[in-house]
């Protein structure tokens, strides 16, 4: 098995120790950081995704894989050359104003990170102004909003409207999700996509950005 395949397998199995060891070996051997990420770490998650979708793997297993991947990421990220940093896409994520639900949002953050994206987690109860400010500050390509309440999901529209006012709507894709949110609702408020779960968010982000 190639080193990349071994690293991918370690991510798939959720073995953080093994991921750390293999990543260190590759770093010492001078493998390019972006290659370690794409062909090793993220490739491991690409084994997980279809198995999760097919019902062969379960949420806690996906979390173990994502966590193992995160350990490798921590080691590799500081080594990425400045010229390459721009190649990593940024996604701003948060739960909307008036809403404190964070379990689903946290899963999304973890899974997006496992897709090799730079994820800015704003937390919960985030106002439209804060979302827009973060999109500007981090020069984000994607904004992800979560809402678990029917009363708070309307605030997603306020954020999208504010993005328009600020002339940013064309620069950022908006993904929405959460229990009461639907594809119809996403279309109604002018979001770019509805994501049913964390894995869908990662796949949607990947297809938009690549």
């Amino acid at each position: 098995m190639s080193d990349f395949a071994q690293l991918a397998q370690a991510v798939f199995k959720g073995n953080a120790e093994s991921v750390k060891g293999l990543t260190q070996t590759m770093i010492d051997a001078g493998v390019a950081p972006l290659e370690i990420i794409s062909q090793g770490l993220v490739a491991g998650m690409d084994i997980v995704s279809p198995k999760f979708k097919a019902g062969e793997m379960y949420v806690p297993e996906v979390m173990m894989s994502a966590r193992a991947l995160g350990e490798g990421m921590k080691m590799v990220k500081p080594l990425i050359a400045n010229s390459d940093v721009a190649a990593i896409k940024t996604i701003v994520v948060g739960t909307v104003a008036g809403d404190l639900h964070d379990i689903g949002k946290n899963l999304v953050v973890m899974i997006l990170e496992s897709g090799g994206f730079n994820v800015i987690d704003l937390g919960v109860d985030i106002s439209p102004a804060k979302f827009v400010e973060a999109v500007k500050e981090h020069n984000a390509q994607i904004l992800g909003m979560s809402a678990l309440l029917t009363t708070t999901m309307l605030s997603m529209k306020d954020t999208i409207d504010l993005l328009k006012e600020e002339g940013l709507r064309d620069k950022v894709k908006v993904l929405v999700g959460g229990a009461p949110v639907s594809k119809n609702f996403a279309d109604e408020i002018g979001a770019d996509a509805y994501c049913a779960d964390a894995m869908a968010a990662k796949d949607t982000a990947a297809s938009i950005l690549n």
């Binding site: 806690p60 404190l100 946290n106 029917t150 009363t151 639907s182």
Partner: protein
């Protein structure tokens, strides 16, 4: 034991379609099915109808009450929809789902509970967010209980919901809930409980097994209210069996009745 039937919720596809088509017969059938299966209250939730929730709530409450005479559990994060539903309740003591210890929520929901003499589902969360541990939850319980008590809401009208999270993403979620039930029961012996428990098994295989065992575990510590699908025979059978084992079923009559109703036929 108090069972709230959860099926009339517009986040469910069939209910959403029935509401859109004003298919009163379907709504009535689902209400009646739940009562016949043993529901004490019928939950009414049309929160996904964000643009006409109030009208939808009115139509649902009126439609349901044409066929059944059990009290309703009016379920909405929107105070206007709560009031619309409560003002139309005709049978028994209505229930509000839910109040939390978030400042705004207390300000709008507590007056409604007093005005309509409603039972209150009280979620263990506040402005600081979702609780992690049993201690976090107890902090909210104490603060919220003090407010409800000061407003003279009787203990037996308070139904604390310990907030069940998925064990698939939070390892200790089940255990923290059990610890919360125990602590509430010790401190406030006369309040009741309510929980939607299917959350506990999210993202895991064999969800039914986890849900049923969690019923037995929570009931053992004093949980006495569940919001669930009462037409799920296995779940209702588990409830009856658990009650009998806990000495809450004189001569095991409910358990035997459940058997005769076929709840244990797999």
């Amino acid at each position: 034991m108090l069972i709230v039937g959860e099926l009339i919720n517009t986040s469910r596809k069939a209910i959403n379609e029935a509401v859109d088509k004003k298919d009163a017969d379907y709504i009535k059938k689902i209400a009646l099915d739940q009562v016949e299966a043993g529901a004490d209250y019928i939950d009414v939730n049309c929160g996904t109808k964000v643009y006409n929730e109030v009208e939808t709530m009115e139509w649902l409450v009126n439609t349901i009450q044409e066929v059944i005479q059990v009290p309703l559990c009016i379920d909405s994060p929107n105070p206007k929809a709560l009031e619309a539903g409560l003002s139309l309740c005709k049978y028994g003591q209505p229930m509000i789902n839910s109040i939390t210890d978030e400042k705004e929520r207390v300000e709008v929901v507590l007056p409604l509970a007093l005005k309509y003499k409603a039972k209150l589902v009280a979620l263990c969360m506040d402005d600081t967010g979702m609780p992690e541990t049993a201690e976090d939850r107890m902090r909210v319980v104490k603060s919220l209980y003090a407010k409800l008590n000061a407003a003279e809401i009787p203990d037996q009208d308070i139904y604390f919901d310990p907030l069940v999270k998925p064990i698939g993403s939070v390892d200790k979620a089940g255990d923290e809930v059990l610890g919360t039930i125990k602590a509430i029961k010790e401190k406030y012996p006369d309040v009741h409980f309510m929980c939607g428990l299917s959350n506990v098994s999210y993202g895991l295989p064999n969800r039914k097994v986890l849900n049923r065992i969690f019923v037995a575990q929570t009931m053992t510590l004093g949980m006495d209210g569940y919001i669930l699908n009462p037409t799920d025979k296995g779940m209702m059978g588990t409830l009856a069996a658990s009650q009998a084992l806990l000495g809450q079923d004189s001569y095991c009559m409910n358990y035997i009745t459940a058997h005769r109703k076929g709840l244990y036929e797999e």
